[in-house]
Symmetry: C2
Subunit: 470 residues, 2 copies
């Protein structure tokens, strides 16, 4: 509960309509896209500008009130669940595109802007903002920056962090700090910009961001390759890259996923294929065409029994449908869906997919795997039922083994979803005690009162938690 006197201070800062603490409002923000870990905030606050954010943070810091910054709550790691109460901070008023600078190829935005609105705004000018997380239609850029969101174009274009070149951040003590700028080169001290990106709201509140843009690719080609075995698909992935071709998208779906999607959308998918690759290349038309021809040849050489290049944009959209529908299709199978993002070096994708299959069998579970094969970022997904305790026990054990295997193969426990609550117990697996200690030292130094999104990234105990999609 927030003390009446403090509540009055908050209201005097943001005005009454931007401070909510009715049970309905609090309930609305008690969960995010990871609904197994609901937790009630004490209030929901919507500042209108950076100064108001700073004033709120100062009060919270003085009174040790947790703050959970929240965009659209689409994260998949429990990152915006207010597990220690306090206030949820919304950015519905700070949702402007401040400047699209065509000379410096940058866009400066407030945190509440929808990712898709940025993508659309820059494409209208012939520019390109590549990060395209699955949630981009409804996620905000502030959330993307806090989670360092990935997407389907990560292989060629990188992730959110690669495009954030300047930030305005309200630090946990209320100080307003500006990092970077419209600069391609800046070595004035430590890279605070990269440190803030992906820090999941635990180090400060991002109130403005300058993003780097690139010229929009001139054209795009889309193709689909079908395989009778997984290894052949994985070999194709490796061989494409080893041939110095970096496709814009290089997605993988296994047979169980394919079956589930076909059952759902009934678009005539080849459910007899053991694995499919969805590949897109962009660039100048001649270059995209040449690359797609080379990729076609490689897929055939490696044993694809069918390779199809879309002839029209409609065909291309049809080809990408299976991949886009994967999560929705899987989510309708059973009441609960566990979607993970274990990531390995590209060369280990076949080993990882095979290991996932063996682990699923060992624990007698259906685990479908799809994801970004080109960058080793897989999404092993388990349709299950949270009410079935015995099965959930097996699910937890299976995913713990999957994370261990990923790390053993030189990979990581999370490629693009973030640590949040869900992966916190596994973080030490990836970082070791020493690496974890470094991160904790940074957190302690910048947020000594632990007000910024407490309970995230760092586990209080090693209790296993998985993200459950209902």
């Amino acid at each position: 509960m927030i003390h009446q006197e403090i509540k009055r201070k908050f209201i005097s800062i943001v005005s009454p309509e931007n401070f909510q603490d009715s049970p309905v409002e609090r309930l609305s923000y008690s969960f995010d896209s990871s609904p197994d870990m609901p937790a009630m905030p004490d209030a929901v606050i919507s500042p209108r500008n950076t100064k108001e954010v700073s004033e709120i943070v100062k009060i919270c810091n003085e009174h040790r009130i947790p703050i959970v910054p929240r965009g659209s709550g689409t994260n998949l790691c429990g990152g915006t669940c207010p597990v220690e109460g306090g206030i949820v901070m919304l950015f519905k008023h700070m949702n402007k595109i401040l400047e699209l600078d065509e000379e410096n190829l940058t866009i400066t935005v407030q945190p509440g802007v929808l990712t898709l609105d940025i993508i659309t705004a820059v494409e209208d000018k012939g520019l390109f903002y590549p990060p395209d997380p699955g949630s981009m239609k409804i996620s905000t850029i502030g959330g993307n920056i806090n989670e360092n969101s990935g997407g389907l174009r990560g292989l060629k274009y990188g992730v959110t962090r690669d495009y954030v070149i300047g930030l305005e951040v309200v630090m946990p003590n209320g100080d307003i700090v500006r990092t970077g700028g419209k600069l391609a080169k800046d070595v004035a001290g430590y890279d605070l910009t990269s440190l803030m990106v992906g820090s999941e709201g635990t180090l400060g509140i991002i109130t403005e961001a300058t993003l780097k843009l690139v010229p929009k690719p001139e054209s795009k080609k889309t193709m689909l390759a079908l395989y009778h075995d997984l290894e052949a698909a994985a070999r194709s992935v490796s061989k494409i890259i080893a041939n110095k071709i970096i496709p814009a998208t290089l997605e993988f779906l296994d047979q169980p996923t394919l079956q589930v999607v076909e059952d759902y959308v009934k678009i005539g998918l080849p459910v007899d294929a053991k694995a499919i690759l969805l590949i897109e290349q962009d660039g100048p038309p001649a270059v995209a065409q040449r690359d797609i021809e080379k990729i076609t040849a490689i897929c055939r050489e490696e044993g694809a029994f069918s390779v199809e290049v879309a002839k029209t944009e409609e065909e291309a959209t049809a080809l990408t449908t299976a991949r886009r529908w994967a999560l929705s299709a899987l989510a309708r199978l059973k009441p609960t869906t566990i979607l993970e993002d274990a990531t390995v070096p590209r060369s280990e994708v076949a080993n990882m997919v095979r290991a996932i299959g063996e682990i699923a069998e060992k624990y007698n579970l259906l685990i479908c795997t799809f994801g970004h094969a080109g960058d080793g970022n897989l999404h092993p997904t388990c349709p299950t039922d949270a009410r079935n305790r015995e099965e959930m026990e097996r699910v937890h054990k299976a995913f713990a083994e999957i994370f261990e295997k990923a790390v053993e193969l030189g990979g990581t426990i999370t490629g693009e979803h973030g640590v949040g609550i869900a992966k916190a117990p596994y973080l030490e697996l990836k970082l070791g005690k020493a690496g974890l200690a470094v991160m904790k030292a940074i957190k302690q130094a910048l947020d000594p009162n632990n007000i910024m999104n407490p309970g995230k990234i760092f586990a209080k105990d090693d209790k296993t938690k998985l993200v459950i999609h209902k």
Copy 2:
């Protein structure tokens, strides 16, 4: 002085031949490429592996002995001057390329490998490591990572940080931490990799690095455009980018630089030009050709009085000569050369160059300007004489104004040289008190005893220091 007992411990770790404390050895490592700030270390130590580094660091941490990690000492900010004594750590034994992984497009190296050896090794395999600092023939990758080195290809390809995806670091307490990996996506906690890159040896010692590679561009075209006025050159730069063309290189030289270079190398440079642009584009031949044609048209439209595209590789090399010789030519004019790297948003290059000219006039100094126009990273350079106190006073005042102007234009005090000792007094200009406080808090948290390259980045006072090249 290092106590005899501690000296014995060091020797027992690295063996006698790798511990030197003779006056000659100490003198050899008392300066780097910024020779106005010599300072004697107490000893020079050359560990053979990470374990030895860790053992040395633990002893230093216990006894508060400063450690200055040093590659080839080519940095331009006093970054490897042992201003507080202690030991200089060399990596002459840790100089192996450990793995070139063609499947994952990575190379894993020890810190002592020469940058050029990495570039050559990967190009032999059709791959490309883009960062190309001016010193790349003799600099080590460890030094490049610590300084986040830039180069001529930064506009299109980014800087060192953009290619470091995994590190092994010995922390100030001796802990060995591994960050990142052969991973395109990894959101397991804070981005320690980016934090370490560019930290100038103040947060830990890098003992291994995994670098991202890209396919080698298929071809390259080089051209030179000459202008009767600076604004026209600057407008060309902006218009090229605004036309969605990102050249691999987009370098600028002003008339004074041109004159000095011609006087030195006598290759028939057009010394009547007020400004020249050296432009390179790479990529598939048809694309590079098309871009160069478009750039040619833009330069002509904006008033270039001569545009020349190299027809052969020899011609291309001839065109780049002027740029490559700029520093050497300037350095022979007077006993002392001040080379700076104020950086502004690309759109402000003309304003910045004009301001530098005005400041030079105000203080009655010759300041030549050349640099990376495409990324706004300029190198205003002043040939002077450190023995002339009166002139040096004016030089210091002039550069202080240049830094202020850069920051005023949305730029930074250092684009690629680092802060070190030289820029420390100006860091607050860029970061503000609050930003500087955040960086200091990180330093304090990770290196509480201040043993890692003390005296760098953070100024003890605001005494102006400039890097002087003799």
